[in-house]
Point group: C2
Chain length 210, copies 2
């Protein structure tokens, strides 16, 4: 489904909504008013109503939001109910810690495998995943119709590895290499976490505060 004109800022806030709704659900809360929900998130009730109104009508005047239903709707908007398949390429420290710390299945994803070119890392166990030879990754993507590749190789290899993944039919790359990847004309979704950008944002707010 195409939903044009949704602002990036709304999209950025939705995962936080999802986390809060998971917490509420775990605490046994079944419904919540937009003002209570706002307090928990540090947003105004009107911002929440405005954000959610981009996608349809979720709340009910005088009732508030049904936690389970809103959770399901936001998960749907975020594609977290599609059971996207994921592999990880590059099992250095960052790659390992992603496998160990992210609860992919709870978020709605399936982590299918991890790959590395370093012989000493191939065969190693990280959580429930056994590291495979990166030479097998293209066949693996084709056979399993993998949706998303986490790219956590060295910087130098980032672009060439990305091109190989794209050629094999991957649909999205979650990029941890701190290199800007060029997906060419492929239409592949690329989203990166730039650690240094985040540090500089923090630094901006620190220098504004002093």
């Amino acid at each position: 489904m195409k939903r044009p004109n949704i602002s990036r800022n709304v999209i950025r806030r939705l995962p936080r909504y999802l986390r809060k709704l998971d917490e509420l659900s775990a605490a046994g809360v079944e419904r919540i008013s937009s003002s209570e929900f706002g307090t928990k998130l540090g947003f105004t009730p009107s911002q929440i109503r405005q954000d959610l109104s981009c996608f349809g009508e979720f709340g009910q005047q005088g009732y508030g939001y049904n936690v389970a239903r809103l959770r399901a709707e936001i998960a749907h908007i975020l594609g977290a109910d599609r059971s996207y398949s994921i592999i990880l390429v590059g099992t250095g420290r960052i790659g390992q810690s992603l496998i160990e710390n992210i609860n992919f299945s709870r978020l709605g994803f399936r982590l299918l495998g991890a790959f590395d070119i370093r012989p000493e890392l191939i065969g190693r166990q990280i959580g429930e995943i056994t590291v495979q030879d990166a030479a097998m990754v293209h066949e693996f993507i084709r056979e399993n119709g993998v949706d998303i590749a986490i790219l956590s190789t060295n910087r130098d290899q980032a672009q060439s590895v990305a091109e190989g993944l794209i050629a094999s039919g991957i649909h999205a790359i979650w990029n941890f290499t701190e290199m800007e990847l060029d997906p060419g004309q492929s239409g592949v979704v690329v989203k990166g976490i730039h650690f240094s950008d985040s540090l500089l944002e923090l630094s901006y707010f620190l220098s504004e505060a002093n």
Copy 2:
């Protein structure tokens, strides 16, 4: 200096500007038009002019931007010319990889130390840093007037460690624990990287594309 009403989106884009300017500078480029700069960043020239106009006049009609001067101005806006001091608390995989992969001094920061509570990790060398006993961190912050703490402990310890750092006089926390930290009334700047939020954003764009 206070600059009210600068949108978060502009702040988010500035570190990318800085990276591109570093690349241009390394390639020997001394000046660049807003349209060339836009092409390199994937932005329109008018967006670039609009972003930068929030902070004053940097470009000159018919000349473009002086790369070195614009780089220095953006670094200044981001507080990257203040030589902020940083420590890291929690030297697990994420913590180690941050020390190894981020060039703090090139970004304009001073990494002063790393701390852990685990006896087997204390005394270990990570790059040029020797891991110290976390019992010493409060004294270290006070003696060195540390500005920023990178928090990369376990989730369970995140809030209590953060409170200790705040009580010791830290000014900002860069949070890698995936826990939402409450800085209370301290005024401490907290910025987190939520890996799962980033994955869900990617998933949103993937589901929109299909």
